[in-house]
Amino acid sequence: MIKKVLVANRGEIAVRVMRSCREMGIISVAVYSEADRRAMHVRYADEAYFIGPSPSSESYLNTDKIIHAAKKSGADAIHPGYGFLSENAAFAGRCLEEGIVFIGPSPEAIRSMGDKITSRRLMTEAGIPVVPGTEKINSEKLALEKAREIGCPVMVKASAGGGGKGMRLVKNEKDIVGAVRSARSEAREAFGDDSIYIEKYIESPHHIEFQVLGDQHGNIIHLFERECSVQRRHQKIVEETPSPVMTQKVREEMGSFAVAAARAVNYAGAGTVEFIVDDHLNYYFLEMNTRLQVEHPITERVVGVDLVKQQIRIANGETLDIRQDELLQFGHAIECRIYAEDPEQNFMPSPGVIRHITEPLGLGVRHDGYVYEGYEIPLFYDPMMSKLIVWAGTRKEAIARLRRALYSYKITGVKTNIRFLERIMECPDFVNGQYNTHFVDKNIDFLLFPEKHDEKIEDVAIIAAFIDYATKIKKREDKIFSKNGKSNWKDCGRRISFMRY
């Protein structure tokens, strides 16, 4: 039985994991870098171990230091959170060797799913649909043949590629040869390797993922989908469940495939099977994340399951205590991620000291954060400060609730994307559930330039600043007064107070 868990992470996820540990009576151990002495996970944990300088490579990514802290603290298990070492097969293997439970799947499962080509092959073998595409191609003739087979539009991609180099979108068959030729030439130039491959181009892609849980005894279930298509620069910012485009039939199909995907790698733990889905609900396996996702709370809320506790129970060797047919989606949940960033400056991160926070509270609101007043967000890590998760009986009510929560959520000292998120909740495409991964780009003008010039509100701002200034001036004057023993401010105050009735 796991009695003490070292959380090899920081920020909101470290705190979130420790909360579940506390509920289970498990002692939590934090590790922290130089920059994180004051971080909330260090304060929240039962124990805390310093592991090195601020850059992640010298602390949170340093396997030796983390294993050393685990040994020193007597932790019998390590929870990796998300990011950092969470999908590092070597680290998972190292834990095994050291006799420490890694709260996650086996190194083999991580390795198989971590490699695009292996996972694609495994999925194809398991009968799970993947994005139609080819292996490496070196002939224009073969390319044309394959493109016909797949059907346009297709993407021509450089095998060695990256950063959009050697990539061509082909909408008509007749353009395929020219595209292959120029892609190869560009790839040769850029990477010294002109092999390319062809993949079906999904025009209006949705990013929809399924949560799965598998135990060590071969039981695997899925906990339905999450719609994660609201992204900027491939970074999810709003997620919801159920997906507004999903049907019950497709949900069941995709759920079965998600379970099959996990089964193909003997998956034990919590994982997420990501699909790319087009407007006609054709879906293709994209990848599997072999860890907890940032957006796991919306599933927790709608399904009523604590995923971290499930992870720990599974790591303990326990049998899953939930059956697939017991699960249901109850109501609707939306999460949005609060970043320290400036949407008006191309989402540039805005680190700094948190001056003041007003957290949204009340019915249907969950808030998973880690910053506090006086805390300085370090430069070294992700600028996400918190996640706001709301639940309501219906999607419409959930959107209204999220707007209400965002309205009363204030963080000063750093710039945030809170207003940007509010605009998403007001955006007709989102409200109508008609969006895909192009949502942010398509609606960027709506999302970024909401305000009409409102002189009345400007005047309100002016009044506040003016009064603050005037009060300071007055205080300075009073100080001089009172030194001369001539202040009659108090008497005056009393008189006025009296006059109010």
Partner: protein
């Protein structure tokens, strides 16, 4: 007195103040408000029975960042002292320019040397913060006067990085 809010200059006069009740005029409009500081830097303002919460961050003396519900404003208080200082400063303006980063970060790369002549749009320095790199460019043809930082150095927000002339 004048108050600068973004690009607008407003004329503000206090008409009366009794405890939390103030009467003032802004550009000739008269306002009667009930205003109290409820938290450190947070004011509650009731104006015509509308309730407003306003957060003030004093960036430096007489310079505020003011957050209303919907928008952030930069506000400068222009009192007699400020006016005097402004009039004196005018002559010095535009003589040299300092490139700085609006947020703390780490200098990734410096693309120029002291004395270099750079063209409009040239990148002079790259600064990274929180997983993102930002390139800083010059807007007109200029000469690099001095470089205040070195690659790899951690810098604060608004710290002078490169001085151009």
């Amino acid at each position: 007195m004048e108050i600068k809010i973004n690009d607008r200059i407003a004329h503000v006069e206090m008409i009366s103040r009794e405890e939390d009740r103030v009467i003032l005029s802004i550009d000739g409009r008269k306002y009667e408000a009930d205003i109290v500081m409820v938290e450190n830097g947070v004011y509650s303002l009731i104006l015509d029975n509308k309730s407003h919460n306003i957060e003030l961050i004093e960036l430096e003396n007489k310079k505020y960042l003011v957050n209303t519900y919907s928008k952030s404003y930069n506000i400068d208080i222009i009192d007699a002292e400020t006016k005097y200082l402004m009039s004196r400063r005018k002559d010095d303006a535009l003589e040299e320019t300092v490139i700085s980063s609006p947020m703390p970060g780490k200098v990734v790369k410096i693309m120029v040397n002291e004395g270099d002549e750079v063209k409009a749009g040239d990148t002079v320095i790259v600064v990274s913060a929180m997983k993102m790199e930002s390139e800083y460019k010059v807007k007109t043809d200029r000469t690099i006067k001095s470089i205040k930082v070195r690659e790899g150095q951690t810098v604060n927000s608004h710290q002078p990085l490169i001085v151009i002339e």
